[in-house]
Symmetry: C2
Subunit: 407 residues, 2 copies
Amino acid sequence: SPDRDRLVETMEAQASIGATDGGGLHRLALSEEDERVRDWFSAQMDAAGLSTRIDEFGNMFGRREGTDPAAAPVLLGSHLDSQPSGGIYDGALGVVAALEFVRTLDDEGIETERPIEIVNWTNEEGSRFQPAMQGSGVWAGAHDKEEEYATTDEDGVSLKTALEGIGYLGDAPAEPLEEYDSYLELHVEQGPYLEDGGHQVGVVTGIVGFVWGAITFSGEPNHSGSTPMAHRSDALVGAADVITQVRRIPSTLGPRTVGTTGYVSASPNSINIIPGDVTFTFGFRDPDDEVVDEAFDRVLLEADAAADREGLDWRFEERMRVSSVEFADRCVDAVESAATSLEYDRTRIFSGAGHDASHASRVCDTGMVFAVSENGKSHTEAEYTSWDDCYAAANTLANAALELARP
Amino acid sequence: SPDRDRLVETMEAQASIGATDGGGLHRLALSEEDERVRDWFSAQMDAAGLSTRIDEFGNMFGRREGTDPAAAPVLLGSHLDSQPSGGIYDGALGVVAALEFVRTLDDEGIETERPIEIVNWTNEEGSRFQPAMQGSGVWAGAHDKEEEYATTDEDGVSLKTALEGIGYLGDAPAEPLEEYDSYLELHVEQGPYLEDGGHQVGVVTGIVGFVWGAITFSGEPNHSGSTPMAHRSDALVGAADVITQVRRIPSTLGPRTVGTTGYVSASPNSINIIPGDVTFTFGFRDPDDEVVDEAFDRVLLEADAAADREGLDWRFEERMRVSSVEFADRCVDAVESAATSLEYDRTRIFSGAGHDASHASRVCDTGMVFAVSENGKSHTEAEYTSWDDCYAAANTLANAALELARP
Ligand SMILES: NC(=O)NCCC(=O)O
Ligand SMILES: NC(=O)NCCC(=O)O
């Protein structure tokens, strides 16, 4: 079994890189903080005796050979980047647990038939660059590498420039170099279901599909006092109308449907000017892709209606689309039987957040373990998982991976 | 009569200071651009032989003596600051027309019994610092000078620091130094009524009252995917609900009631985080102060209801409040008879925008002349008034002022 103290120490070590005053992380993809945590992770992989490679999309791999070098490897990992003001568990716990697994194999002198690889994926969060899960998406062939290189952050810096800037544009091809047996990922749940049900570990059966987009309304900037209401084309009123619908559409669809506007920007953004241009994002998710499509169609109809009411032009840009996935039974079973034999209170759960596992499941059989998120908080400094819960999930991951890797 | 070519040249000269690529102005109060236009205006006043003074709030005055130095002066002016992306007429036309008036008196060798003063008021726009009409408000005793010194821009720079920074913290007391006979201001209408009615000149009878405020909602930042809709406290949904009401409340009140949200800022403003904090502004205006009060009460009720629905904390800050004013009959009549004898098609009109004349009317009899705004556009680069319409209004102003100043 993994070493609980070492797991906690390693978690604390990564949490010190890009730490915020509020006890969270500011470690945006390909930022200076991301560079530092990558350097740290590289050194940890070297110290663990792994043979490492960095691919052309900055994904970082470490490999521990199996007794049968021709056997398809088991891959484990997650991501070390964070939201602008995120928690210390989101992503990092999965990377640290994967590292802890290979350390444990060494401690206990365990040889596996299959090679084990661990991975830190580039830009999972999708905050600075969109889409989210970008590195795993390129690796899995869901996205074209050159197109993703060209994505830019708010300052117009391209992803490729940012990768070069921190020295993590590697030379391994950004694709599976061989057939993989399976991919396992440990992540914090980021939602309330495990805690509400009093469970210790989540056996993830799949991941919701989702769509992200941005809508821009263009009206007429004008004086906020002397322009009669009937003469106005107020881009912010159009946006507000649609934002209220993004909130309300989900309740008319399914119990797991969610819809969110996370970003809004108005121009000229002055107290006494009718806003001329407003851009805002939306995202919808559901276990059923058809529900996502329905929500998406509905929000575009709402945008069209709002544009009509206010006399606005509007345009729409899709930022991300991922299908819902169901994990392979053998991976779900491996996770479930590991949790069961470790006597953790566990439950099957469908992920409402996106994960690199969504893309990995295109390449090989995939499964996930969820750790409890207290109060269901995530993408905020207030994110919290107790060390006991971190350990239960890491222990489950290790035992499931061991089964798949054939000791 | 004023010199049309010189009026146009002087307008073009000021429009070159802080000019934007789009043919407008970026000349925020107390910015480097404001410093340059003030230096230019100072030189124009010197060249016109006026005796100048700058007061402790940066208001710039120029005086032409009357034949009776003890007579109460007639004051004319407006403002040279602009919106972040404003037009070249808003404010500037009133200052240039006042300057042109004293130049015309000199050209034609006219002596007036009353002294004439012209003025450029500090921070009329209220974009960088709030409230709007700040310099005239301090001068007229509507605001306390020290309190207004302490107002800050978005970067935390205080108004007093900014005044010192551009060298326009003068030493004349920021108050009327004597009794004034009257104040006249020429301004572009900034609305559609003159053009819609086919008029050349507006005889302004008063100015709407208004209130400005900012509301901040605080909810819980959380993951946009894994947080069920029922667990959310989304500050942006609260804001959007209220913004749609700011748009709709006016139609239930009066024909001249307007309501606007010009500014919104969300945090952390990331596509996959439920917004934790959102601040937005609102403003309501009406000729009847009771209607403004009613709109204000209604928006606070809406905010409270939205906070309840979403489980948000909220707070409110009042940024500005000005009572509706009706101008003195003798000033309205002077403007009207000037326009009539010049044979301009003129109409009486009530201003929907705020003006320094609102505050001046607390000090002395006040009147205004409006020039036609094409397509009713203002607070945008697209603001436009033909030189013919500029001239008609300047000519009306000059003749009305001459009557009040007793030739
Ligand atoms: N797990 C996670 O937070 N991923 C980021 C992309 C998303 O919003 O789901
Ligand atoms: N006239 C004008 O645009 N004044 C600025 C203050 C306001 O918004 O009314």
